[in-house]
Symmetry: none
Amino acid sequence: MARNNVADKREAILRAGIKVFAEKGFFNSKVADVAKAAGVADGTVYLYFKGKDDILHSIFDRAMAEFIGEGRRELERSDDPADQLAKIAELHLSRLGADRELAVVFQIELRGSTKFMEAFSAAAFAEYLQIIRKTIESGQNAGLFRGDVKPIVAAKMFYGALDEMVTNWILSKKPYALEPLAGEVVKVFLGGLKA
Amino acid sequence: MARNNVADKREAILRAGIKVFAEKGFFNSKVADVAKAAGVADGTVYLYFKGKDDILHSIFDRAMAEFIGEGRRELERSDDPADQLAKIAELHLSRLGADRELAVVFQIELRGSTKFMEAFSAAAFAEYLQIIRKTIESGQNAGLFRGDVKPIVAAKMFYGALDEMVTNWILSKKPYALEPLAGEVVKVFLGGLKA
Amino acid sequence: MARNNVADKREAILRAGIKVFAEKGFFNSKVADVAKAAGVADGTVYLYFKGKDDILHSIFDRAMAEFIGEGRRELERSDDPADQLAKIAELHLSRLGADRELAVVFQIELRGSTKFMEAFSAAAFAEYLQIIRKTIESGQNAGLFRGDVKPIVAAKMFYGALDEMVTNWILSKKPYALEPLAGEVVKVFLGGLKA
Amino acid sequence: MARNNVADKREAILRAGIKVFAEKGFFNSKVADVAKAAGVADGTVYLYFKGKDDILHSIFDRAMAEFIGEGRRELERSDDPADQLAKIAELHLSRLGADRELAVVFQIELRGSTKFMEAFSAAAFAEYLQIIRKTIESGQNAGLFRGDVKPIVAAKMFYGALDEMVTNWILSKKPYALEPLAGEVVKVFLGGLKA
DNA sequence: AATGAATGAGCATTCATTCAT
DNA sequence: TATGAATGAATGCTCATTCAT
């Protein structure tokens, strides 16, 4: 019960952080804004987080862990690298497409700081890229994917393409579904644009 | 002469802005830092720019204008859409690859703010994306590119792929040449990953 | 029994206060520090004291009451003012010399606030000074002490001399016994420095 | 001119610091209070001092330097140790007696922090005590003062006696002249209280 | 009586911007 | 034009105190 309350309050602050950071940007958000949005006093934030930075940090950590966990599970369901890439694309776009605010924080706010980028890219982000690379490599080894392409470059391309879909979706004024783009991306990525 | 001095000083502040923002991040940079790096007094910055934001703004505007101008010129040299995409990729990577600090500001700092992203994407950035899209469309019209792909999606993929190359290059601890990746990107984008 | 527990807890908090205030200074000490050192919850402190100030207040009150009580008892054992001054000096230095932490709070922390000084000097401290003054007066009346000296000035001198012994002892990096200085002080105070 | 303005502003902040710290105590004073009392903006304080601590520090440094300088000069005017002690006493009391606010800061605020006490006592304060000790020693060597008293103890007594005069004067509700007490102090210190 | 989670007022410090010179 | 001293609004964080349990 008490345990639950603690988790609830932490969760509330985290959600409030996502919301506020998405709306106003990390640097323009005040801790007081987050506290108010979470329905707690300013000081309470510091009972659950070390400071403003730690909130952003925690948003990233939690989401990325879920993300990667689900990604791995998804991959195990299939042996076909092409299928696996399709799964990754779907998951990537459906996940971020389902939570616009989280997507904003991921696409915009997390990159606003070399500090964060360096700290994070080295860890969780690199892991995500590795998953894509391994999938491509196994496709090459199986003779399904061409061998004259560096897997790491292809992986970055794939990730970059998905990433750009999300960023554009966020910045777009017209609402549209993000997930369906997964198919398009995979189609071009695997088949090429040439006729 | 006086004219020249004015241009020189503005240029100096702009270069100093790129340098300082790249090093410490936009939000962590002080106007005083930029002024010192430019060799002028704090107040002088305000004779050439409206404020801190305007410096970042101007960095973007100037670079983007050059970028787009050169892109257009490059495209006119060829009639082949595939060649044209290759030219764009080379230009994109060689330009940013030639000025790491500018690249950092573009990839990292400009995105740290929804405000900037929204303001800029709507203008110059959209134009850049349009150029890519038009190229792809003309390829489709000429029957060189497959027609079952939405040109705007393909354009975003292409841009996203290039963008990711740059971001990774910036964050990488090992130095390597960025431009050569243009060929790889185009190869996969046009030919597809499938064997 | 319950009575005893209450006294014990109050005592524990008081001792913890002395310890913590001596170590970190009153203004730099947190109520939470005192609570932790006393082995009670933060809120418990407020069941025994009105607030942080009241802890310091109570430290002073209790120690001063003991101090004065013992002083009076000591004085009654002798009729000779010179002996009596010697007793006061010994008591003063042995008492504070026996409890370095208490001494630190008395010499340093209690003085860090005009508010406290004013509030306290008017009460218990003045009483202590009175005792010394009365002793000196009775010496003058008995013809043992010279009459051309204002007793209150002499009393302040005596107190100031003892006080300085304690302050120096606290700040000294080398440990030494404080009490033995009582004899020196009395010797000079009564006999004068002149040869 | 500019030079003068700078010195004036620093001086104004220093005086304001003495005033405010004396009135409300160091820990209860806000930098904003000092700034307002000095007639400058809050931020201006930081153009002249590193922070709140540095103001207190500087008050002490400046006053102590003057104090010691004047003390040395005074001592050179006489060869008689008894005269010299009288001079020190007069200077001590007249100096602090002439500036009640400065005296409050010296007697009360500077002692409110073990940190300050330790840092300062080791330096300037020790020097002051040395001057007194040397004077006493020379008196002993000249056979004017008794030799069976440790000079350092006598010096502390003398300083402590003067110090107590100042503290009592500050805390007293009735105004009276401080300097005249110098004679009394010296009389007792040299001649002893005994009849 | 005891707890300790929650509160929110309070404050030192920073820094973008202005303006008298 | 250029300066840089001065400004003062803005804010992350602390911690004494409260109160529901």
